[in-house]
């Protein structure tokens, strides 16, 4: 099943099995906004539960928070991360803090689903992922599915969680095709990073789209005789570093690819936490972060092509790191 279809399967399961689940956001009835991930759901479950909205991100997000406080499990959907920025007050000041600031007894079971939709010369305001922005906020659980299985399962887990959850999917993954088992109830608190591929020479850590990049790079590197371990982060807040640390204690080499600006990014967090857990001599070679240069996305095709890391870039960096024994 493809990643995009797997998201739809997750939605379908949730809407069918739980009357309290509603979905609200812009473009839910339009394939142009959400791809195939919500195809015809409004026809099956009604436009009262699958709600396409005016161009009002802040109000719709706040409405999700309010409905969550009154017994529903809304999935607020923003067809681009960039548009969700208009709603940051409701996510960061309100939902993330609500339980804590009222003494720990006022949970807000809302999901903020945002789609990364970039490339195609769309430019600076239609290309962002901003993972670490959201992961910085205590109170927001942040999930970043890479595989079709996780696209489905983490959506279910996010929606069943009693906490506000940011769920970020990526259109570059929508055609990733893998076997997916049927949806079932999952406790998000029990989910964390997973080893997707076992290896001994180097630990490659990715999230969302970069995990696919790393899996492709690992396949190529295997033909060159290198054994890469690939860890998919899946959940970046709260962040559990133990799986990565365990891997690094074996490989002594660590590369993080994050598909975002590296400054103050997820990679910085991963590397720091590994060193904190394993001590200053955990690595045999300096760690590497692969991401975007610290500049907004340009539109012009040749510049845009260079802007995003490719499988070949990962291969090159790994080969350089392997020169050091």
């Amino acid at each position: 099943m493809e990643y995009g279809e797997a998201i739809r399967t997750g939605f379908h399961y949730l809407l069918e099995s739980d009357r309290s689940v509603i979905v609200i956001g812009q473009g839910l009835w339009s394939p142009w906004y959400v791809g195939d991930t919500m195809r015809d759901l409004e026809k099956e479950f009604g436009t009262d539960r699958v709600i396409d909205t005016p161009v009002s991100e802040l109000a719709c997000t706040g409405a999700g928070v309010g409905a969550a406080l009154c017994g529903y499990r809304p999935i607020v959907t923003h067809p681009r991360v960039d548009f969700a920025l208009l709603a940051t007050d409701q996510m960061v000041n309100q939902a993330a803090k609500w339980n804590s600031m009222f003494g720990g007894t006022s949970p807000v079971p809302v999901v903020f689903r945002m789609i990364v939709n970039r490339g195609g010369e769309q430019g600076a305001q239609h290309s962002q992922s901003l993972y670490s922005w959201f992961a910085h906020i205590p109170g927001l659980r942040v999930v970043v599915p890479a595989t079709p299985q996780d696209a489905q399962d983490l959506l279910v887990a996010a929606t069943l969680s009693d906490d506000p959850v940011v769920y970020i999917d990526d259109r570059w993954l929508y055609d990733w095709d893998q076997a997916v088992t049927a949806p079932r109830a999952i406790n998000l608190a029990s989910q964390g990073p997973l080893v997707l591929r076992h290896g001994t020479d180097i630990t490659l850590v990715g999230l969302s789209w970069t995990t696919r990049l790393l899996m492709d790079a690992a396949n190529l590197l295997q033909t060159e005789g290198l054994s890469c371990e690939v860890v998919d982060l899946r959940v970046i807040n709260p962040f559990d570093a133990s799986v990565v640390a365990q891997s690094v204690s074996k490989t002594k080499r660590l590369l993080v690819a994050e598909g975002d600006w590296v400054t103050c990014g997820v990679g910085a967090e991963v590397i720091t936490r590994v060193i904190e857990e394993l001590g200053p001599h955990a690595l045999s070679v300096a760690p590497k972060r692969v991401g975007l240069v610290d500049a907004p996305a340009p539109t012009s095709k040749p510049l845009e092509n260079n802007y995003y890391p490719k499988v070949q870039d990962i291969v090159k960096h790994v080969n350089e790191m392997m020169k050091w024994q």
Partner: protein, 355 residues
């Protein structure tokens, strides 16, 4: 959902109405010819861009305003290059109506370094400050408060220049539109909000999104002067703009112009038959009978049949201008890789630092 009791746009939203020739009596023929030429330039330039989208030569997302030309041209006709204008994702028309060179637009959508934004923005990020266009961006509603800020600067400057915010009906659904109207009204700032009500925000008709279809009601709520016009009638647009700007310039207060119009192509891209991924089933053929260019031509011809020569000259001049601009744009290089980093921060030094 629309409230059935609500009386709003009335006939203005009907493509069966307002099809008659534009009444041009009493208008200087040269002025009418200039408006005609500007509208033809926008239409032809966008048709050429549409062909390049279809062929794959243009790859950036383009939101074409074919069918809406009269709004930009009518408003721009009352502006000077020292007024400060802002647009959004559908702003080719604003750029061209203000007189900016078509080569800068074509090169920009082709991603070339000679584009108006150096090939960094594509169709959705246009600028031409020397013609009064400060910038257009695709985050809906984003430039509305920015125009208010420009109006604040212009007020502090002390002249009689104004700021102009071009926005769509969808943008009135963002909270910032309402904050901006209130701020401009309470601070008495010289800004004209031009709402191009084409009845759609991407896939959704306004009847699904708002209880009423006339957006001037928001101006009334904020005690802002306003006019509501047929956006496919360039004379009406220009006349209403003239009246509103007289107030904005002299009294230093905001105004709203709502111009009702319709886009002929899909929300994004070149197609007429498919809109945001689904087959189009609206009344486009009827709206084409309300063509702003044809109606102006009919009006001019009814007064002076000889004018056809001049209209034809406009068309052929525009075609030549576009062909030449396009060949220069195509020959231009892509931007230099180093510009990705070099363009992030300013390289100038603030010389006004010490007072």
């Amino acid at each position: 959902m629309r409230d059935p009791e609500y009386e709003g746009l009335g006939t203005l939203r009907s493509p069966e109405e307002h099809r008659t020739p534009v009444v041009t009596t009493g208008f200087d023929e040269q002025l009418l010819l200039r408006w005609h030429r500007a509208m033809v330039l926008i239409r032809r330039a966008e048709e050429v861009i549409a062909e390049m989208i279809e062929s794959g030569e243009v790859r950036c997302p383009c939101h074409l305003g074919i069918g809406q030309e009269a709004v930009a041209v009518g408003v721009a006709s009352e502006l000077t290059s020292s007024d400060r204008c802002f647009g959004a994702h559908r702003s080719h028309s604003h750029y061209l109506a203000l007189g900016a060179p078509v080569e800068g637009l074509l090169a920009e959508v082709l991603g070339r370094s000679t584009g108006c934004s150096g090939g960094f923005g594509g169709s959705m990020h246009l600028k031409a400050p020397e013609f009064g266009l400060v910038g257009t961006v695709p985050i809906v509603g984003a430039t509305i408060p920015i125009a208010v800020g420009a109006a604040l600067a212009l007020k502090l400057d002390g002249g009689n220049f104004v700021a102009v915010s071009f926005l769509g009906d969808g943008a009135t659904e963002e909270g910032v539109f309402h904050e901006s109207l209130n701020l401009a009204a309470s601070m008495r700032l010289p800004v004209l909000f031009v709402i191009e009500n084409n009845l759609y925000a991407s896939h959704l008709h306004i009847d699904y999104r708002q209880p009423g279809d006339a957006l001037v009601r928001y101006a009334d709520a904020h005690h802002v002067v306003r006019e509501l016009v047929d956006g496919n009638n360039v004379v009406e647009v220009a006349q209403a703009t003239k009246r509103l700007l007289a107030t904005v310039r002299s009294e230093r207060r905001p105004a709203v112009l709502e111009a009702v119009t319709y886009r002929w192509r899909g929300h994004v891209g070149h197609r007429e038959d498919v809109d945001v991924g689904v087959e189009r089933r609206d009344n486009l053929p009827s709206w084409k009978q309300r063509d702003p260019i044809a109606r102006l031509e009919q009006g001019m011809l009814s007064l002076n049949p000889q004018i056809e020569n001049q209209l034809a000259k406009n068309r052929s001049e525009v075609d030549l201008e576009i062909i030449e601009a396009l060949s220069r744009a195509r020959a231009a290089p892509y931007p230099n890789e180093s510009a990705v980093i070099a363009s992030v921060y300013s390289t100038s030094v603030n010389s006004k630092g010490s007072v």
